[in-house]
Symmetry: C2
DNA sequence: AAATGTGTTAAATAAATTCTTAATAAACTT
DNA sequence: AAGTTTATTAAGAATTTATTTAACACATTT
């Protein structure tokens, strides 16, 4: 077994760990738990993993792996695969960062656009009511109008963000910014 | 004072609160503390604020406001302004979401590109050493090569992300995706 | 120069989140 | 159909993070 090829084996592990550390560190700035971040980074170098393999590899509990892998599935960074003959579920990490980027940011931005535009529409209606209200003093009307206009202006941004999402989803953005740039 | 224009005044506050709530909720998904998120959203409807005004407005401690506003300055969503005659520092919220977007994501992505590319370069050097190492078995060499190629492929993504940052910083992206789209 | 007002830092408390152990449910095998 | 394996859910423990209170430092004014 130990044919003294221990050193290169160790070096491979160290090299992987450098990348795993960097990926995990950036990921948990993305609102992912440390366990999920480590898990994804670990899976990045594996073909596929079962929950038990994850547990032994990361030295954590199985439920922790279960919830982490589910979170990663939600943001489409991990997919469940069908492995014939094994009763255990197997999971594969998305290794194409373009797809991870698309899944993560489009989901996040769409949510942001939806939530904020809804709030803005409601608020604008309220401001209009105040402007039309005869009991409002001129000063109050002026304030309402100012806020209304500010919100109206901000909508441009949310529409732009929506366009950005669409151009990423459709792949059109890669006509503007090619994937394989030379420099 | 109370000329029975209480109702429109209240309605304005309610309308603002709807938007403040939405902004704050999306913001703390961005790795900002609740206090900072609420603070920014509150400042969004104000011309400028001092630390004491923030404290009374949000009902929180002054150090909390101090650290929050500093965090917001770091991501360039708040700027310090010079107010003649007042000893208190005054702060203004960035109200142009395009600029906030630019500051926040460019900073985050640049950091990510830098960190991960550094780790990748180091790891790739290690993999090359393993490949050249005479004590490495063919199987180990194959593994090292596979990982090396996977990292090489991933670099395309980071270069693309870097290009994206550049096109946002320069404003070139708005030639591709205009700010004022009609639909 | 002393004193007041303002902002920041440090330590401690409070709150929230993450992880684990234990129990339950589901699915597959014999 | 019973038993075994696997995954999930629920509840509890522990760590981490956020906020506050208290002390400090700085600056400005008198």
């Amino acid at each position: 077994m130990s044919e003294s090829n221990e050193r290169p084996r160790m070096k491979i592990e160290e090299a992987k760990d450098k990348v795993i550390g960097a990926i995990a560190e950036t990921m948990d700035l993305y609102g992912v738990t440390p366990a999920a971040a480590n898990l994804y980074a670990t899976m990045y170098f594996k073909d596929q993993m079962t929950l038990d393999e994850m547990r032994t590899e990361l030295g954590m509990s199985k439920p922790s792996m279960s919830t982490s892998v589910r979170k990663l599935q939600e943001i489409e960074m991990v997919k469940k695969t069908f492995t014939r003959g094994s009763r255990k579920h197997t999971y594969v990490a998305e290794k194409n960062f373009f797809r991870s980027f698309m899944a993560f940011y489009c989901q996040m931005w769409e949510r942001e656009v939806k939530m904020n535009l809804e709030a803005i529409e409601e608020a604008q209606e309220d401001f209009i009511d105040v402007i039309k209200d005869s009991t409002s003093t001129p000063e109050i009307v002026a304030t309402a109008k100012k806020h209304y206009d500010q919100l109206e202006e901000s909508k441009k941004y949310y529409h732009w963000l929506d366009d950005l999402v669409e151009s990423i989803r459709s792949g059109k953005i890669f006509e503007f910014l090619p994937k394989d740039q030379e420099d």
